[in-house]
Symmetry: D2
Subunit: 334 residues, 4 copies
């Protein structure tokens, strides 16, 4: 009821549920149905360029498929040391890429910088003994709820281009970043050098569909094969496509993300002294002593112990107003 553990715990939004019912008629299997065939068009409109859009059922699959198209088995992928692909996907990127090596890079807010990426690259002699870099993966909003601006992404994108690296963006909370930045989806992706985007919908009110967006359609053909081979070409794909289309329509995806961000912002304002980082999406990392954390739990709040004296709170798109208000009050009382 007062759960701030994860936006994965949230419900699906009404438009998504309605889309399933609307799509519930016989249609061609896999992704030959009328809904799936509309995905490229809908996302191309959103991104203001021609993209290829594939539905997948998890962000982990989206990330792993994206990376497998950018990096050969014998290559390396640069990412932040706190990246989801490094820590929270049970080695899915290694599995889908057939053993590529993730090279974790440290940095504040789970953000990469051109400097930190350059340092990592300069430690890799270009020989057959060292795993050579092929891809750069960044998460926006990051695992610490911070955002990269379009300019920051573009600086990394330029560096990647110079060094021959493909660029992947893990956008599990892409909607939250776009809302915070007020930029266009195009500005934050292909215009800044991103080749493939894992565009998250499930945390943001979806039920079971994520989108994998290729700004380089030449990469998509192989990704389709890998998706099938990974067991991700679901038989009745129309239900996945319908969810995505429903969330694009009337900007439901932005509406949901805005609600979540706004909740987080209000909680942040109530306890500025406790914030590990400025809140730029729907996650808060709060300094809490063990005693304080325990007190909050006794009052019914759910959240994640991230590190010693550090707790993660995630605000969902459907977070009840009452739970936000009560959390603010409880934090004020601490």
């Amino acid at each position: 009821m007062m759960d701030f553990l994860s936006d994965n715990a949230a419900s699906a939004c009404p438009e998504v549920l309605a889309s399933l019912i609307e799509a519930n008629a016989p249609d061609r299997p896999y992704d030959a149905d009328s809904h799936s065939r509309n995905l490229d068009g809908a996302f191309s409109t959103l991104f203001d360029t021609e993209v290829t859009a594939l539905w997948v059922t998890t962000g982990t699959a989206a990330n792993a498929l994206a990376l497998a198209t950018l990096c050969p088995p014998y290559g390396a992928i640069l990412c932040h040391a706190d990246a989801h692909i490094q820590n929270d996907e049970c080695g899915a990127p290694e599995f889908y890429s057939h053993g590529a090596k993730l090279l974790p890079i440290a940095g504040s807010g789970a953000k990469l910088t051109p400097e930190s990426v350059r340092d990592c690259l300069s430690a890799l002699p270009p020989d057959v003994h060292r795993t050579q870099p092929y891809a750069l993966s960044l998460t926006n909003a990051t695992e610490y709820g911070c955002v990269y601006t379009p300019d920051e992404v573009a600086a990394l994108g330029r560096l990647a281009r110079e060094r021959g690296l493909g660029v992947h963006m893990d956008g599990a909370r892409f909607a939250n970043a776009v809302v915070t930045l007020g930029c266009s989806p195009a500005d934050l992706t292909w215009k800044a050098g991103v080749d493939v985007l894992s565009f998250g919908f499930v945390k943001n009110g979806g039920l079971s569909a994520e989108a994998l967006i290729f700004f380089r359609p030449d990469l998509a053909a192989e990704a389709r094969i890998r998706r099938k081979r990974g067991g991700h070409l679901v038989s009745k794909g129309r239900y996945n496509a319908a969810q995505l289309l429903a969330m694009l329509k009337d900007d439901v995806w932005l509406r949901n993300a805005r609600a979540a961000n706004e909740g987080a912002r209000r909680i942040a304002e109530a306890s500025p002294g406790r914030l590990l980082y400025p809140v730029e999406a729907n996650e808060l990392f709060l300094h809490l002593s063990a005693a304080e954390a325990s007190l909050l739990r006794q009052q019914g709040f759910g959240f994640y112990d991230w590190a010693e004296n550090l707790a993660r709170f995630v605000v969902s798109w459907d977070q009840p107003e009452e739970s936000i208000a009560r959390l603010i009050a409880a934090l004020n009382r601490l």
Copy 2:
């Protein structure tokens, strides 16, 4: 409208849609929710023994995960030459098993026999040069819509046990087989030596959830890890679990399969001379000349050209009565 192309084209049944709406509240993510936690119990009751039940989103994923738990990367999997795992999964078993070798075996009706399996095994000298066998996979109902009886499965199961092979059953149309045989799910699986079952729901009225049933729970822990690593641990697993529970309740899975089988039976009775095999599930393989096939297509029937002068018709759980009646009439007219 009069589509007999695939049961993947069918709609989801009302109970499944209702289950999604019922499950649409915040709950623990992944498979820690209340629905997912009920799966082991529900399937253990159905199979009359303690099983571990995992939801997955495709039959391909179910098969590949099952085989990866039974066979090491350097092992071989015996299957029929017409098996779905051999021909229709883009190498998913090879992917998940990290390169295990499928050894295809010929035989009528896409069925294996102890003799054909024994012949295959006897051609494999037990040395380090030859890929050694670790698993046997059979499909019930088969890719040609034939069924293995419990006794037939048991004979294969005994042989497998003698030779140290694990046994997987691809049950994409397990429900159709059970309905035809009138046996218990237990008789057709663990009592006959099956270790892991891919239990299909999507073709049978589900929306997006298949079940992977481990009769040897020791295998399930590894499968959970591989499921996550394969990107199949969906964030909001409750919607998958809810579908499965809804189809077990009141034997909806049997009701749906019965409807599909009955439609196939009626069509078969109307054209006995055209049947490649007796119809024992919801698929018909009919001898049709190119001219006859063309005539049927002109009348609006959809079906798959399987081979020269051979067409596949699949009857779905929701096949409109009218489409069946019209197909029977059209076949009679040929």
Copy 3:
């Protein structure tokens, strides 16, 4: 002493041993030494075109590396059902290619024909469900000691080109084929459409070095990486290169193969009625009853039971004259 079991059992020829002693001085590690740097040149001269030549330590590694450069993890490799890569390498092609699928094709003498390859291809619908073909592998001389002529290779090469398949030749006994055919190495390889050749030396008097020849040098860069990753970039590569150079010099490779072929020819002439296939290299497959095989073994002959009433005899480059004469006599006495 009278062993016809395998040419792997033979000794190394004097020139090879001498080359190791000659190379035994400090030099650059891996393949930066002066011997290794001469390989491309020496093999380019032999093949009358610019090639990239890598040493490897086994034919299995050569084959697997070659196939991994020609076929992605999600692709299929067409080969004969009796091919060494299919039956005798413990899945090394699957391992190095990360799970590619071998599609075995039947045919007399372990030979593929344009017809049999075309039949296999026509059974593969070009969709995402079926593993798509990327490479064709043929063995010359074949696993049954038969040879493909340059024209036969060229016919397969043209078909492969038309269908977009890369062509690999397993030349574990390439020398024996060249000697029999009296053709140039060029005629039998790149002029006939071969992209990569596993060029065997060990069975033919080498000690530990095989050659992997790329007629498309664009493929070689990746193969170098995969060779390192496979643990095949030996530290003191100069000893491998020296062996290969020593066997190219003064056509030692042809001299050795000629000796082996000649021994096989003489045995074949002595028992024409027992031959499964005409003898075109250094292997004989003789129809022998179990009693006959037993008699020969009692007289000290070593050979391999290939199938019921079929035995394989291999003549090595260093086969003692006496053992050949005695075998001929023994066969005559049967």
Copy 4:
């Protein structure tokens, strides 16, 4: 001539060359020959316990095969951030293990400590999202030429045992460590908790054979299969086995390592102020300015620039006395 670049550049010792000539007669192929069959016995004697010993042709293959037997595809391997397996094997451990994740740990002298390993482990929550640890790999002597004492290994071995981790030792310079420590090979390995040892011979005067030693023979059967599958079961294995036996006989391996260590010790004594670490094997890491490095190179010395103002010198078993004396003089002159 005055090359301190790598012990891989050294020659093979006379006993090794002689062993090849001695072994040069027909014998059973692969590892069924009389030399290979003596390996288990010879190494069991050396280690004073029953071991299984496999020859392989590179240290990279030895390491990767060892790790693949200790860690499943979905597991993690703890190692030092400077480990050869992490930096210098082009991802061979990832390849052979099918995608296991290396978790690099920092620490002085390229050495792990129970504390640093414990810290790494404590950051890994035991859930399905995080790659779980299965193995610990340590290098002795380390990549910085430091040694672990038997007690230090034992402390790590105990920790590994408590946490259920298998223990691998990369002993590319194991001989150098044993010479320095004056301990028994048993004390430094299985008595201290090591399960598998990559026992290096090539850097120490071998030609092409390394040894992979299993102190848990139950692991060896799978390693044999993986060795074949990796293309490392060479056809004429007798030449590999003969080299190893020749180096064990009369303690040639210790004699060679002693010579190398002694050279390094003398150079170290001549420039104590420049040492990054105490010299405990045959490698020296010297602080040298760019100008100093350049001066030395002008005088004909070969060495590796390891980092800014840091150079690596390796002394080989066959390092000419003159080159050592001249280097000492040159360093004194700087």
